[in-house]
Amino acid sequence: MSKATRLSPTTKIVAYGFLGLWLIMAAFPFIWTLWGSFKVEGDFFSKANWANSLFGTLTITETGGSFTGDGYYGAWVQEEFWRAALNTFIVCVCVVTISLTCGTLGGYALSRSTYRYAFWFLLFALMFRAMPPLTLVSGYLLPFFEWNLWGHLSTTIIVLVAINQPFTLWMLHAFFKNIPKDLDESAMVDGCTRFQAFRHVIIPVMWPGVITTGLFSFLLAYNDFAVTTMLLSKENQTMVPKLVSFLGTTQTKGNVMFAVAAVVSITAPLFVMIIFFQKQIVSGLTAGAVKG
């Protein structure tokens, strides 16, 4: 470590203390909810003593054990959360595949064109990126009702892909800029067409960028609430709108624990994703800023 970055003990203590505080703020809510999801409602929301949720006093009296899977059973089996999970899976796979297919083609072209319209194209994409999804949704509803497109998974998939496009284009554009132009140009000198050069020279080397962009497309589709809640019919709901519907119906039934179990179920895949793809996520977040 160089001399300039060495720290005095006090600075070190301040730095560690601040970071420790932040880490507790970042992680504690999730650990707390995971722990509480195996308790009964009387413990998770404890009127008597907050420590009940730690030791599960009521859970023991109500179920016999200090942990219970009732919330999960109620959500997944009774309320058919598995259907929503399946729908989310379909939506995510389709959105990622389609947005990457369109995005790589577009991003590649944008990174190679030297004309001014490529810049305008990107600027328009940036403006589209700023549109709140709900303003667009209020434009879809009437035409979708009129043409009987409302409620289907396929409609939602296409809409999510489109809303995703500006971001995908910007990101892939930045990645393709980093692939040297000489690579595909020399292929074209050897007689390839533009598409053949893309197919045989660019595609084999583009995967790191595509995987990173794919992760963010996945997140957008997985985390979306505005579009899925407005455009999907009840039986086609994905996980997030389903969770919100639990909040409405189950609070009256006194079964908030279904929602807690659903929250944990939605978070778990994301957690696994960060474990495996932390590097790609970090590089994706910085791609636009540092390189571009």
Partner: protein, 341 residues
């Protein structure tokens, strides 16, 4: 790249964006100029033993047929924009003449749904954006100062609040600050008030929403700054130290100038995201205390009666807001690109 190959390469993306982003904007503008059909009223004469009475009733069939024939509704011009739920010209004018003070006027204005929504959205954006940037910067400096082995786990845990679904993240926080949750109990103990409830208080609700906003987007600022810190020139830092610069001076005069371009980038993304704040309001069920523009649209679209025209008018006003918000950035980008070419 040749024009024709460029055209074919971007065609799928361009078509998607035109159909599902550009066209809906047009559709929203059109819809906002129409209003729902009134119900068709027919007069029915009922003759009984005590003479005839004329009663009015709704002709369901004719109403349905009319709605079928003209789904957009009837032409309304700018009426929707002027009504009480949007710009409320009449109400604002009246408040202006009748209010005794600016405070009074502002109070009346805040009772109008649209002005209430815009006030919350702007306050949220104006407070959350700078605090996110500052907080993210502090975390980045902190991570940069600790031992290398600790950095990986720190980044891993820091990513959680950002990656997690907004609805889920907000719910997790909301359950904890519930009066029966652990943080809620802590707050009551701190304030020494057993009846304190975030759900019941407007200022506390606003604060909680903003805390959520900072909590969920600070990791983004942190990651970008952290990457930027790796590229700070150590020679410059050492030179500054030899010249007698304190740690703070080194940060102020070497590190911060290096990070300014990144700050523009973070600010741009954060402005766009904070202006569309919506999910936490759903999760916190905060609609009684705080409504954003997006939430107003959601509210109009949901429910039994879908108020398409009202939602469309709010959408158009929101889009205008986004355009105003982004205009300095767009002008700047345009100039920078102009120089680069």
């Amino acid at each position: 790249m040749k024009h024709s190959s460029f055209f074919w390469f971007v065609l799928p993306s361009a078509l998607l964006m035109l159909t599902f982003i550009a066209f809906p904007i047009v559709s929203v503008v059109t819809q906002s100029l129409y209003q729902e059909h009134e119900q068709v009223i027919i007069e029915v004469e009922n003759c009984g033993p005590f003479g005839c009475t004329v009663s009015e009733s709704v002709d369901q069939e004719a109403t349905a047929a009319l709605r079928e024939a003209q789904p957009l509704g009837q032409w309304a011009g700018l009426e929707i924009y002027k009504d009480r739920n949007h710009l409320a010209f009449a109400e604002v004018g009246e408040a202006w003449t009748s209010s005794v003070s600016m405070r009074d006027f502002a109070g009346t204005l805040m009772n109008l749904p649209f002005y209430d929504a815009i006030a919350f959205t702007l306050t949220y954006t104006a407070i959350v954006t700078p605090l996110t940037i500052i907080f993210g910067f502090l975390i980045a400096i902190g991570v940069n100062a600790v031992a290398r082995a600790m950095r990986g786990p720190t980044i891993f845990l820091s990513l959680l609040p950002m990656i997690v679904t907004p609805i889920v993240g907000a719910l997790v926080l909301f359950w904890m600050v519930d009066a029966r949750g652990v943080l809620g109990a802590g707050l009551q103990w701190l304030a020494d008030d057993p009846n304190l409830s975030v759900k019941a208080s407007t200022p506390l609700m606003w604060i909680m929403l903003m805390v959520y906003g900072i909590w969920s987007s600070a990791p983004f600022a942190f990651i970008v700054y952290y990457a930027g810190l790796q590229t700070v020139n150590t020679d410059t830092l050492e030179a500054a130290m030899i010249d007698g610069a304190t740690r703070w001076q080194r940060i102020r005069y070497v590190v911060i100038p290096h990070l300014v371009p990144l700050t523009t980038f973070i600010a741009l993304i954060q402005l766009m995201d904070n202006f569309r704040v919506f999910e936490p309001i759903v999760s916190f069920s905060a609609q009684a205390h705080a409504r954003s523009l997006s939430f107003a649209i959601f509210n109009d679209l949901g429910g039994e009666t879908r108020l398409l025209s009202s939602a469309a008018a709010t959408s158009v006003l929101t889009i205008i807001g986004v355009a105003i918000l982004l205009s300095p950035v767009l002008v700047r980008t345009w100039r920078d690109f102009g120089k680069a070419r």
